[in-house]
């Protein structure tokens, strides 16, 4: 049985949608007269889809879209629009509405739209891991000596996390920054053996050497290996280069006032800030970045805007 919540302060419009749905044996529907009433209904039992008017007293359709997106992100909202509200409808889509149907097309388009939105929603939910059930998985890449490969690699991992609904957008960005620092380190400092001190002392010379070593063996033949391991407890990235490695203990404290005008160590500081753990291998040519899953957040105790770890 598919539960549909129809939200409209106009009884005639609500009834029209209800009449359309009652012809479909699988649909069960109920009404709410405005956004706030709709949220009260949803607190008791979640519908599979919400169909809402835009203009309503107390809480309008836009506010309802934002509230549902925030509190019940798996429930899609379809907006019903009147003449002249196209801009507002567009705004509703930006805020997370799944689709919209003009009121003068309800009879012809509403059922198709509901079916389409539900199909997408169910597909997405089937990809979302329920709490307590986490698939272990691993993705890996091998990067040749080309800085342009770093951004798409990070983008792939961020997409994976988004598809699995594992992180907030802000957290994906933090992980992206840490990965970018780790991959750039592996390429420039690891495989190309370029030192930050050279960049500080001779900026032009540093970039000449970048260009030179990108064409010169053995530097240009070295690869960067990156793996993402996802388990019930954590997200783990392992990045390994084929350079000689380094001793991370020798890096200066990048937060020390005396080091503020130095180049060295800032990337590793950002990795440590944005991940829960950063571990270097003994040889120094492999770094492991760990982000732990938080049980409290899994249970939904903390709101999305406050989430600092993987959900």
């Amino acid at each position: 049985m598919t539960r549909v919540l129809i939200v409209d302060d106009s009884p005639s419009d609500s009834r029209l949608v209800g009449i359309l749905l009652q012809d479909h044996a699988d649909y069960q529907y109920e009404y709410a007269e405005d956004g706030r009433a709709a949220l009260r209904v949803m607190e008791v039992q979640l519908p599979d889809v919400v169909i809402s008017d835009l203009v309503m007293p107390v809480m309008d359709g836009l506010e309802l879209v934002a509230a549902v997106h925030d509190r019940f992100p798996n429930v899609p909202v379809i907006i019903m629009t009147s003449m002249g509200t196209d801009d507002i409808a567009l705004n509703a889509l930006r805020q997370g509405a799944a689709s919209y149907v003009p009121k003068n097309s309800i009879a012809t388009d509403m059922l198709d739209t509901v079916e389409r939105v539900l199909t997408v929603s169910r597909r997405r939910q089937s990809q979302t891991w329920p709490t307590g059930l986490t698939q272990s998985s691993c993705n890996s890449f091998v990067l040749e000596c080309n800085r342009d490969l770093i951004a798409p690699t990070i983008g792939f991992f961020q997409d994976q996390l988004e598809q699995k609904s594992l992180c907030s957008e802000a957290e994906r960005t933090r992980i992206g920054i840490a990965l970018d620092e780790a991959l750039a380190n592996a390429l420039y400092h690891g495989n190309l053996e370029l030192s930050s001190n050279l960049r500080e002392q001779d900026y032009e010379g540093y970039y000449k050497l970048v260009e030179q070593r990108c064409q010169e063996a053995p530097y240009c033949d070295r690869l960067v290996y990156v793996e993402m391991h996802l388990s019930q407890d954590e997200l783990r990235f392992i990045i390994r280069d084929e350079g000689p490695g380094f001793d991370p203990a020798l890096l200066p404290d990048a937060t020390n006032a005396a080091s503020l005008d130095k180049v060295t160590g800032r990337g590793i500081l950002l990795m440590r800030t944005f991940m829960d753990e950063v571990l270097f291998s003994e040889a120094g040519n492999e770094v492991t970045l760990v982000k732990r899953r938080s049980r409290e957040e899994d249970a939904g105790v903390v709101g999305d805007e406050h989430r600092g770890a993987i959900q």
Binding site: A170, E181, V210, E211, T255, A257, L260, D261, R266, L269
Partner: protein, 119 residues
């Protein structure tokens, strides 16, 4: 106004306004270098007394941009000039804070505030 692949440059009297238009970390550092060379050449000009970097169109940056900021600040402050940055996102503010770069130059809420700080 000059618009490059990554940076948009604008003059307001003695101030050079620099607006990154995309996240630098998604580009190879060596590809950004020609534009940076142009910026650093302008910073050498005696007509430029101060610099404002406006991050309104960028959501985040990493150590590569921090290093660029540090060099700009070094170059302008050696000549007695000032630098301010503005319109940073929460993420960028966090990056500036953990690296303590927010102690080196003012981080302002708007371009107007930043211009006021350096003029």
């Amino acid at each position: 106004m000059t618009t490059g692949q990554v940076f948009e440059l604008e003059r307001q009297g003695p101030v050079l306004l620099i607006s990154p238009t995309c996240n630098v970390s998604s580009l190879a550092e060596e590809n950004v270098k020609p534009e940076l060379d142009q910026i650093f050449a302008q910073l050498q000009s005696p007509e430029i007394k101060s610099v404002v970097i406006d991050f309104e169109r960028v959501n985040y940056f990493g150590s590569s941009m921090l290093e660029t900021l540090r060099r700009m600040w070094q170059q302008i402050s050696e000549r007695g000039g000032m630098m301010a940055i503005c319109n940073v996102s929460e993420m960028e503010r966090e990056v500036l804070h953990v690296t303590r770069f927010d102690t080196l130059w003012p981080v302002c809420g708007s371009r107007e505030d930043a211009l006021e700080k350096v003029l």
